[in-house]
Symmetry: C2
Subunit: 323 residues, 2 copies
């Protein structure tokens, strides 16, 4: 039975798993922290170790399994043809030959694609966007990425940089973003940005059950802590979640007006907030986008929680091999 190894490199976690080339089985799904602060070499060593553990599980569970290659998804912008990470604000890499480093270490053919492209490819292959011709994927985690399936195929753009929706301006004089620009979506609605907005409000004196956490260590406040506080009834946290939905809704409305997709799949940890987030997102999109575009578009959480990037990295490898 033929399998492909998929590795998803996130700002916070590495995920690896072995996917059958018909997409019907995922074996040995493993995850561990990225530890970007250990530098590119450290991260590659951890990726390779994780991949080996995943392949060992495959060999145990599917004795006659063969692994014919590795698909890697990583934050961009990338040069996918040369397999190079050009720049990642969240990992601090510049012109890093990730594909060949992984291929050499594992002695397998490898491909590299953008992590957000992989997430939407995975959701299109086996998840929430199956069967659609126009799909937009949005990955919200340490950063905000995007991927576009247009007329049934992944769209790469003129130089492999398409889909950077986290770095679109929604507030022209807004917050400074890690990319150097002002008012980017990512500066408001990534996981860390959600946490930061809550911390700032508490520091300005807002009443909240998050105060103790903020006073102990502002850096310890996560987006998940904000959702939990919101669910427990904290008014400030609820306001932060509402504002996040409004901001995400405006950004999604922009993309609905420009791409007119059948589905917008929102992936990543932020989806843990569930309907508390999705209901106001949908309301904001209805309020902002053109009706004929809104009417044909579902806005849904990803169906492959924790594995979309792995499925998509594998799909990207298969697509590259087919060309």
């Amino acid at each position: 039975m033929a399998f492909i190894l998929g590795i998803d490199v996130g700002g916070t976690n590495l995920v690896a798993g072995c996917v059958a080339d018909d997409g019907n089985r995922l074996v040995g799904l493993l995850s561990e922290p990225t530890r970007a602060e250990e530098g590119a070499d450290g991260v590659v060593a951890r990726m390779v170790a994780l991949a080996r553990r995943s392949m060992a599980i495959l060999q145990d569970e599917v004795p006659r399994a063969s692994i014919s290659g590795v698909g890697v998804g990583a934050p961009g912008p990338l040069d996918t043809h040369r397999g190079i990470v050009l720049l990642t604000p969240n990992l601090g890499w510049v012109n890093f030959p990730l594909r060949d480093r992984v291929a050499d270490a594992l002695q397998l053919p490898a491909t590299l694609d953008n992590d957000a492209n992989c997430a939407v490819l995975g959701e299109h292959w086996r998840g929430a966007a199956q069967g659609t011709r126009q799909a937009l994927g949005m990955t919200i985690g340490t950063g905000i990425g995007g991927g576009l399936i247009l007329d049934g195929r992944l769209y790469h753009g003129a130089s492999d940089c398409a889909g950077e929706i986290g770095h679109t301006t929604i507030e022209i004089n807004g917050r400074k973003c890690a990319c150097g620009n002002y008012g980017c979506l990512e500066a408001y609605a990534s996981g860390p940005a959600i946490a930061r907005r809550a911390v700032e409000a508490v520091e300005r004196g807002a009443e909240s059950s998050l105060r103790e956490l903020v006073e102990a260590d502002p850096a310890s406040v996560t987006a998940q802590a904000v959702y939990q506080a919101a669910t427990a009834g904290d008014a400030l946290a609820q306001e932060v979640v509402q504002d996040t939905a409004r901001i995400l809704g405006a950004a999604i409305a922009n993309l609905v007006n420009v791409f007119n997709p059948e589905v917008v799949v929102v992936c990543g940890g932020v989806t843990l907030a569930g309907e508390r987030l999705f209901a106001p997102i949908r309301r904001e999109v209805v309020r902002r986008a053109f009706r004929p575009a809104v009417e044909v578009c579902r806005i849904v959480p990803g169906a492959l929680t924790g594995s979309a990037g792995v499925y998509g990295a594998v799909r990207s490898f298969l697509d590259a091999r087919a060309r």
Copy 2:
């Protein structure tokens, strides 16, 4: 010799012309005011009269010319399959069967496509985007429209509404737009919006050579008057043009980050401002977008001033016939 009639329906002007089906000749290019206030029937009557005058010129100039059809470009959103204008805030039409009305009146097969789609199709066929695979067209006039050539073909989206870049939010709590939303690009950078921003500044007391015009009749101030004042050295007008460039630059940067095109072609009256507008637009895009996307992307005015929509309406007819 085979010709197709192209008609471009704008919020301010109607344009018609006859284009040879190889794109090498344009004969009988004519234009006149749309007069949307006369209602849909009035506009159709004027379109048909204009078309007949254009075809008469063709018969004079190219005695053996034949006209095999009519391509119409109109503001959207549209249902191109059924040939219906669903909604146009600037013309006030709802569910209007424009294609069949024109076909019946002229007794010719007709097609309908979005005016901004036609502009980018025209520029891709015979103008500034020739030879590119990824091109973004932006039409700035009474409204702001957009059209996308992706992987060499016009992209329509799931329900024919793709490309509505005028209605993307760049300032989440910004100015109210004619579409009902807040902070749309169009609310800042369309021709009337540019004029309105200048008028508001004068009314708030800013010194300007435009004061006399504003005091006589604020509605008489046009974007062109603002450009002329800027060129003549008026500081307020120069500031309005600079702000417009900054806003357009932010919107173009968003699209560069999302689509990663080879060229952004800016069409419409606004291009009369020339380098005074394009130089700061390019600076803003460089400041805001990712370098690997910016490096491959030209930002240029349209090459087919006044005729891009006609060329594109004809190209759209030819593409529909080929399918």
